[in-house]
């Protein structure tokens, strides 16, 4: 109790509180911008803490890191663009609610779930302090394999009314993620000889392509976020908060998932939020189906991704072992300030450790409070004309994608996965299922090989492994029975020739991967071979429907496909060319202005203002503050080569 009072007293000093608020505000800004996350914020802020005392330094750092997953909800809900990779699941139901005129409700529920989740994570961290070591050591790789396998059985929950397509999407997601150097042999798998792909396809760009671009294309077609005829719900924010409170067991369960998995190194926020989302989808409660504006689909991932921060501090504090890249940077900051994480720190400097927990809790309260204050004005964005909104949002998506490695190939990946996302959205292939395969497939392989190397097959006899794999089998059997009974997908509409093209393309990818596996060492090939084989089996079952689709041209399909292609080439491709030609400051601005002229935006001065603000933001964040090195714009290179031929 004495340590708690000392910690409160320490943190309550005005300067430290001010730094905490600065950190929170900075974290909220970073969370809103697609492609940025807590890691980016830490690299900027850590050098600024050299002269601060440890409590003030960590008030700034943890204040920032705790709330990026609160504000990343704003673009996710309003425009369907995840602010960080941790908000991709929130897009599905959050943005669907915004289209129905319920943006304030979705945001209210998201912030309050973030707040409770964040506080719950901090509380679990506090309660776990005395028993930190056994808790962190509780799960081994066998258990993680079983958790991942269980997570994959949730694919059906994310597949809408077409489980077969969902299954194929998940398998293709896993095949994509197997790309890069395999974890056991180090063999290159479908990297096309490109060093760029050695670490696999950048997940952050895949998310932007799969979710952000199709939603923006759809938004431009519809004219504004809120669907025509839908009016903004009155008292939405209060309703959202009360729905969070009504779903408190879900908030706490998702928070528990976030905190527990957050404590395990190697399990990132992408995995955590999708497992929480899919877990919530098992009990959708009242209201629309998941993916069509179910508030529980907003509450679960938001609670989980904020609770994660408390959990991920556990291994760092318990052993000095960072659970993620952000925690590795924080560990460096501990050293800079003369602190050595580990059991000694807790014993010798308990008030400081408690001040860290209080910082996380307070940051969540301030972050959620600030966001709630902004909810009503932000919700008005739902009625802003799309021609004004989409170019700005797409520019931020472009900057976010290019920020990943600052390599022109970032745009190639963005274009490929935007095309896939547009096609999947149009033809009813579950993008969440693809994502689940993408984030869980490689973990399944890695955890399997680690477990097998460590204990042969004996890990299969662990109680949690037996329990979870048994549960997965029961769920699968139930699902297969219900599919045979209800024949979901049987009545699914024929989607047109494009659906057949997409289905056959996915089967072709599986065939190509099977062929590529012939040249790989057995250990590197085994998982992709099994997954590709399952993909082909599922595609064979889907074949009759695809055949019907190919034979039946749909009225208007060509027009819709042309519209998608136009958005892809002129929008994403044009933006990529402008950024590459003019740089990350002028390129997006030029794109916003060109779009305003092209789309005949009635208020050009607004477009000009938006262009200037985007340029200023890009320069301030990526040049002035972080000092990142960007490739020279093509016009500068051309100019230089003209001057010095």
């Amino acid at each position: 109790m004495g340590a708690l009072l000392i910690a409160i007293g320490d943190l309550a000093e005005p300067m430290r509180l001010a730094l905490l608020i600065v950190g929170v505000v900075f974290g909220l800004i970073i969370g809103v911008i697609p492609g940025l996350g807590g890691l980016f914020g830490l690299t900027i802020l850590i050098p600024l803490t050299y002269t601060l005392d440890p409590i003030a330094a960590f008030a700034l750092l943890l204040g920032m890191a705790s709330v990026t997953t609160t504000s990343d909800t704003i673009p996710a809900v309003l425009i369907g663009v995840p602010g960080t990779v941790g908000a991709a699941a929130t897009v599905l139901d959050g943005h669907a609610l915004a289209k129905q005129g319920k943006a304030a409700r979705a945001l209210g529920a998201a912030y309050s779930a973030s707040l409770i989740g964040g506080l719950f994570g901090a509380l679990l961290l506090a309660l776990a302090l005395p028993v930190m070591r056994p808790l962190v050591l509780f799960l081994n790789f066998g258990d993680l394999f079983a958790i991942t396998a269980f997570g994959l059985t949730l694919v059906a929950m994310l597949s809408g009314n077409d489980p077969l397509k969902g299954l194929i999407a998940a398998l293709i997601g896993a095949l994509v993620a197997f790309g890069g150097l395999d974890p056991y042999e180090g063999a290159a798998r479908w990297t096309f000889g490109e060093v760029y792909l050695w670490d696999g396809v950048p997940t952050a760009i895949v998310f932007l392509g799969l979710f952000a671009v199709p939603e923006l294309a759809d938004l431009l077609r519809r004219g504004q976020i809120r669907a025509t005829g839908a009016s903004e719900e009155l008292g939405g924010m209060r309703k959202g908060i009360s729905e969070t409170l009504q779903n408190l067991p879900l908030v706490l369960r998702s928070g528990g998932i976030g905190a527990l998995l957050g404590a395990v190194p190697g399990v990132g926020v992408t995995v955590i939020e999708w497992i929480a989302y899919a877990d919530a989808a098992r009990r959708p409660g009242k209201g629309p189906a998941f993916g069509q504006g179910n508030i529980r689909g907003v509450i679960a991932p938001e609670s989980a991704n904020n609770a994660k921060e408390g959990g991920s501090l556990l291994p760092t504090l318990a052993f000095g072992i960072p659970g993620s890249a952000s925690m590795a940077l924080l560990l460096g900051a501990f050293t800079l300030h003369g602190l050595v994480p580990g059991p000694d720190l807790l014993r010798d400097d308990a008030p400081f450790v408690i001040s860290l927990i209080l910082t996380i809790a307070l940051a969540n309260v301030i972050g959620a409070g600030l966001c709630l204050m902004l909810t009503q004005p932000l919700a008005r964005l739902a009625s802003v004309p799309a021609p004004a909104l989409v170019p700005v949002a797409l520019s931020l998506v472009g900057i976010g994608a290019y920020l990943t490695t600052r390599d022109p190939r970032d745009f190639v990946v963005l274009l490929v996965f935007s095309a896939l996302g547009l096609a999947m959205k149009r033809y009813g292939w579950s993008r969440p299922a693809f994502t689940l395969g993408l984030v869980l497939g490689p973990n399944l392989e890695r955890f399997f090989f680690l477990s097998w190397q460590i204990s042969g097959w004996s890990w299969l006899a662990q109680p949690l492994v037996i329990g979870l794999l048994g549960l997965s089998m029961i769920l699968l059997t139930q699902q297969i029975r219900s599919f045979r009974r209800e024949r979901p997908g049987k009545g699914a509409p024929t989607m047109g020739r494009g659906d057949a093209v997409l289905g056959f393309s996915m089967a072709a990818v599986a065939v190509g991967i099977l062929a590529a596996c012939l040249r790989l060492p057995v250990a590197a090939a085994i998982f992709p071979e099994v997954v590709a084989g399952l993909t082909l089996a599922a595609a064979a079952l889907l074949l009759p429907r695809l055949w019907r689709s190919a034979a039946l041209p749909l009225i208007g399909e060509a027009r819709n496909v042309r519209s998608d292609l136009w958005f892809l080439t002129a929008g994403v491709g044009g933006l990529a060319l402008l950024i590459l030609s003019l740089g990350h400051v002028a390129g997006p601005s030029a794109f916003i202005l060109a779009s305003a002229l092209w789309l005949r935006s009635p208020q050009l001065w607004r477009a000009l203002l938006a262009a200037l603000l985007t340029a200023a933001l890009s320069w301030a964040l990526f040049d002035a503050l972080s000092g990142l090195t960007w490739p020279l714009p093509w016009v500068v290179t051309a100019w230089e080569s003209l001057r010095h031929p």
């Binding site: 050591l137 680690l450 601005s589």
Partner: protein, 326 residues
């Protein structure tokens, strides 16, 4: 009005690229993700080297992780840059790549310019006290697991070479994402040992009370931890001794910093002078000490000479070394 706006837009588009080209910056690329020894070394340098370079540029650190830093090494080897505005730190074991993997042309240490190596301190193999493997004899004779990341990393290369050279019975588990995951698996008892760990990591917190330090790994004994056996003092035939020494030699050019092959001579001289000046900068030395960094710098020219020596070893020794790390 409309024309005015279009004109303004045109001016904006033409002038804004200036923002991009104007800043004078030295970028230190790190072949690994944030956190860890290489990142620490780069950030330590970034805080001190600027004033020693002409124009006192801003110094920024960027992480370009991938394939145990081979990705960045390959990018740098192919870079056409001559201005030395970017330098990089990549795995010290890459300096032996022509020996370990002669078919692999992704990186050739003879084609890039080495600027400095930040330390040549020994690294160690250690076990957890609770593992029951407390002595060198137990390490070499008992059946247990050693954790490693990828097969190109020193966390695999060192224990693999020791196992073959000294006939040890342990197995090496690969596929961990980083040292944090290896350490946690050790705490859980899934694995019992780790190799290639720097002295700074061992002296953090109560680590020295929790771990048995089994082996000192280096080309010559430093004796920084009393009573720890030196790997090359163990009985083995002369050919194996020479090969194992060659395997350990990358540790003598640890945390190296490189410049692209086309870097101009003038710029190379500036960069190397800046690193030389840092060697005697007390603020830099104190900061390194405060961060627990084992600073023992070797000049770039000396590093290149050492690497040339490694690569000019007797072909039979190189072949034996290659066999040891398979």
């Amino acid at each position: 009005m409309a024309l005015g706006i279009r004109l303004l837009a045109g001016v904006l588009c033409v002038t804004l690229p200036a923002f991009v080209a104007a800043a004078q910056t030295l970028t230190i690329n790190v072949g690994y993700g944030p956190g860890g020894g290489y990142d620490d070394a780069a950030r330590l340098l970034a805080d001190h080297i600027g004033p020693y370079l002409p124009g006192a540029p801003n110094v920024v650190v960027e992480n370009v992780p991938g394939a145990g830093s081979l990705k960045l090494a390959k990018m740098f080897m192919q870079s056409p840059a001559t201005d030395g505005a970017e330098i990089a730190t990549v795995s010290s074991s890459l300096s032996l790549m022509p020996i370990f993997d002669p078919q692999n042309t992704d990186f050739d240490p003879r084609k890039v310019h080495y600027l400095v190596s930040m330390t040549n301190a020994s690294s160690y193999c250690y076990t957890l006290k609770s593992s029951g493997i407390a002595t060198l004899d137990a390490f070499l004779t008992k059946q247990f697991k050693v954790g490693a990341t990828g097969k190109d990393s020193t966390s695999y290369i060192y224990p693999a070479a020791i196992k073959r050279a000294l006939g040890a019975h342990y197995d090496i588990v690969t596929g961990f994402q980083g040292s944090a995951e290896v350490d946690l698996a050790m705490e859980r008892g899934d694995i019992q040992a780790r190799c290639g760990v720097g002295i700074s990591a061992l002296f953090q917190g109560d680590d020295m009370n929790r771990y048995n330090v089994i082996f000192e790994l280096s080309t010559s004994p430093r004796g920084q931890i009393k009573g720890v056996p030196f790997v090359l003092d163990q009985p083995m035939d002369p050919a194996t001794h020479d090969a194992l020494k060659l395997v350990m030699s990358s540790g003598s050019v640890h945390y190296p910093f490189i410049a692209a092959p086309g870097t101009s001579d003038a710029r190379l001289a500036e960069l190397r002078q800046a690193f030389e000046a840092l060697k005697t900068d007390q603020a830099f030395i104190d900061d390194a000490h405060a961060r627990g960094f084992p600073l023992i710098m070797t000049s770039g020219i000396e590093v290149e000479s050492l690497i040339d020596g490694f690569l000019a070893s007797d072909p039979a020794v190189m072949e034996r070394a290659r066999a040891l790390v398979q």
